[in-house]
Amino acid sequence: MRAAKKTSRLGVFHRKDILFYCALMAYPVLQFVIFYIVVNANSILLAFRSYDTMTGAVTWVGFANLKEAFRMMTQQLELLDAMKNSFLAYFVTLVIGTPLALLFSFYIYKELPASGIFRVLLFMPSIVSAIVMVTIFQFFSDRAVPEIFTKVFGAETYQGLIENPQTRFGTVMFYNIFVGFGTATLMYSNAMDAISPDQVDAAKLEGAVGIREFVYITFPMIYPTFSTFFITGVATIFTNQYNLYSFFGDGSSIQTYGYWLYVKVAGAASQSEYPVLAAVGIFLTVIAVPLTLIVKKLLEKFGPSED
């Protein structure tokens, strides 16, 4: 028994344990190496290559793709718009969606009237296909809402909320917040359920009830879960499509980077279009990484204490 036991820098282990560990760890590690490390390394290399459309021959073009990507990102109206909308959409969902998700979770956690039904309803849009929800919402906004307005406000003809360019962005944002409570509410309310009732009772004796209970007890106790969602949310600023492809296919007048990149990749006639997209991706990663790390540091520094 002792002979089989070895001590190394890895710690105390058995040979059989090592074999078992390696056998089961082999596939996940290989998968990670291929579909994360190789894919991302290839993506960086792609930004320095060019493909001949006719022959598919590869040539190295130095920084040409990066220069072109930079020119597009700083001069093309479409991409300037995409940058603005990516941040704006993130900000809107953060400022409106996140507090609502937290407060709805609080309502469910406190098991207030009909909380069980609300929990199911808030989660329901998450299980329905985006394309189904969008199709229903889009036609409701464009056909049923004008009809309702006409019935309520008089005989005037109203334009649909998606059809109308002035209300389009706001309606799409409303939709994203409307269907976006599912996972967050689920995770927040489950985390709230784990709060010790003794702590809540002790706080109540000191007058922490209602909004004070939420601010001083509940929120600090679920802060780790909240910060996880917050940080991973920042990481999606340039990848979130905000359902634009489901709403408009490849013809949206509203652009975000997540949408723009998907449309370009899905519509690429050949791989000759990939290098510039990979170069744009590098620039966006260079912006997103420090931003995410700064937000993470700020959340750690200024977050509430559990004490």
Binding site: L10, F13, Y21, L24, M25, Y27, P28, Q31, F32, I34, V39, N40, N42, S43, L46, L100, Y107, K110, E111, L112, P113, L121, M124, S126, I127, V128, S129, I131, V132, T135, I136, F139, A144, F178, N190, P197, V209, G210, I211, P224, T225, S227, T228, T232, T236, F238, T239, S246, Y257, L261, Q271, E273, Y274, L277, A278, G281, T285, A288, T292, L293
Partner: protein, 298 residues
Amino acid sequence: MQTVSKRLKSSETRLSLLTVLLLILLVLYALMLVGLLVWAFLTSFKSQQEFRVNVIGLPQTWVWNYTFVFQMYLYPVFTEMGTQYVGMGLMFLYSLLYAVGCAFTATLVPCITSYLCARFPYRFGKLIYLIVIVTMVIPIVGSQPSEIQVAKFLGFYDQIWGLWLMKANFLGMYFLVFFGIFRGIPKEYEEAAKMDGAGNFAILFRIMLPLVRNTFFVVMLIRFIEFWNDYQTPLIYLKSYPTVALGMFNMANTRENGLSTVPMRMTGAMLMLLPILAIFLVFQRRLIGNLTVGGIKG
């Protein structure tokens, strides 16, 4: 005991201004959501002629659009032999193969990897944990063209089994969910099994996996729904195997006569919505039950 804790939880909070405001908001939310779905359901029973004059009311004449849409719900697949049309039956089969396979591999791999990291004292496990955290925090943008190239190189492109393998990674939130559970299982379970002569595989399959089977089931169900509803991955990676969701996307954008009307589109939406809604209503207690995730350190 449970009743007492329930009473403690809700007492004093019940009538505050905050909860009344939240109740109003939640009632509005519920009315809107149910209203949307009811409107779509009712519209699916209207003819186009009736819909033109009766957009929001009950159908005056109930029309059965479902058979027509089921038969016309076709997706064009472009092959070397020309364009072939895939019907809804085959799309359901592709959806099942894609969603069940991907859900299984995408649940099994984080489950097993987190087990190894949580229960074995090797430093490599800490590295894997760190990788999960770092990849959650550090966003990589625009790597899809590269992923397509790698998938094509490996022969995974346009293959359902290829996507099973591509989705079988340990990265993401569910690794942390399983990790938390495996960490919380007392060591006595393993020690007792070892005393009875159980090996590592027996401990994993007879003790550990049964202990997490509820969570495994819930995660797999969530992922199944996610893959069943996903049309963007099949649009790029499964051009020869259109799924129902992709068919719905095609229908939502079609200009084809007969299918491009609002009642027909709502019928298509209902055909796709109803099976998932049924699964959700059956399993909703388990689905929205016990998943928790903590903070990310590192």
